[in-house]
């Protein structure tokens, strides 16, 4: 009897030439949608911290979603999160590289210089808050802004380790899988990141 090997490989291992049952596909799609819905906002904020631009962050998140669903959806759902964040980080680095090249080219061209890293383009301005602007929230916003600046000052691997471990709540093994490195490297990157951030932010933060 035709059946799915696992739920996660619904459209890959269907053993019959007949179309897969509508219910199984729906269940699979729901699981994938649930995963993406659960992760998308944090992923966006992490991309935004790294890129300092809301539109660029949206682009890399969407690209990561597409690549995950197209290429890695057949993997067990436990692997989705590290895979997604590995794709996301690759997208962030690609974009940062393109920015660097563009910046170099722009310095050779006449006319006004474009500086994507300028403070005027700080994406925090795009993170509007519908809640009343009470002083406590303002202070939180300022503290987060300071934290983001400090995170951007970190080496990319330290920033990545800190955000995955602390913001996303991944354990060491999952972070190592997402960063494609050893667990020892994750611990080292994370420890250095924490100390560098604390040093940068100071005791009053």
């Amino acid at each position: 009897m035709a059946r799915f090997g696992t739920l996660n490989t619904a459209w890959m291992v269907w053993d019959s030439p007949a179309p897969a049952p509508e219910g199984a596909v729906l269940e699979y799609t729901r699981e994938l949608e649930k995963f993406l819905a659960e992760i998308e906002r944090r992923a966006f904020r992490m991309a935004q911290v790294a890129l300092r631009d809301a539109d660029d962050a949206l682009d890399v998140v969407q690209d990561a979603m597409l690549k995950l669903t197209r290429s890695y959806a057949s993997r067990p759902s436990a692997e989705w999160r590290p895979l997604f964040y590995r794709i996301l980080e690759n997208g962030i680095r690609d974009l940062q590289r393109r920015r660097t090249v563009r910046k170099r080219v722009m310095t050779w061209l006449p006319g006004p210089k474009e500086d994507p890293d300028s403070e005027a383009q700080d994406p925090l301005e795009n993170v509007a808050d519908a809640a009343p602007a009470i002083p406590e929230r303002l202070m939180q916003g300022q503290a987060m802004e300071q934290l983001e600046r400090s995170l951007r000052a970190l080496p990319p691997r330290q920033r990545e380790a800190f955000m995955l471990r602390n913001f996303e709540g991944m354990d060491v093994a999952e972070t190592a899988s997402a960063m494609a490195c050893s667990e020892g490297s994750v611990k080292t990157h994370y420890s250095r990141a924490v100390h560098a951030l604390r040093e940068h932010l100071g005791e009053v933060w």
């Binding site: 969407q62 979603m65 913001f167 604390r198």
Partner: protein, 132 residues
């Protein structure tokens, strides 16, 4: 800076981050929802092809086997041996010619004997001796 301070720092930074996630505006949330829908739709459009992978597998296997067979044949000693056989056949033809030449040596002697007879007849015709 001790471990306790590190923990407090981690807790605070995590809380700030999650607050910022909760504070995302509707424009961003809407665009994220659209991105998710687009990704799921892209996966769904890919599905029919993936479902038919078993139908494609035999044809792809046969094609791959044929290509592999040709590649192996072109690079195999048998292919080179076939060329050697063709050369050998040409050599045999040459040998046949030689053999034919050898076999014809008898015919050549016969022809030479015929010529001698002809020349003898021509000589006698040109110089007829005294009538007996």
């Amino acid at each position: 800076m001790n471990e306790l301070d590190d923990n407090a720092f981690e807790v605070r930074s995590r809380a700030l981050f999650h607050d910022s996630v909760e504070g995302l505006d509707m424009r961003i949330r809407s665009r994220l929802t659209q991105a998710r829908s687009a990704a799921l739709e892209a996966a769904a459009t890919r599905r029919p092809w993936a479902l038919g992978w078993k139908l494609w597998t035999p044809a792809a296997g046969v094609t791959a086997a044929a290509i592999l067979g040709v590649a192996l044949w072109m690079g195999s000693p048998l292919h080179h041996q076939a060329g050697t056989l063709a050369d050998a056949q040409s050599n045999f033809e040459d040998l046949d010619l030689l053999a034919a030449s050898d076999e014809g040596s008898g015919d050549a002697l016969d022809m030479l004997q015929d010529d001698i007879d002809f020349y003898d007849f021509a000589d006698k015709s040109a110089n007829p001796g005294p009538a007996a």
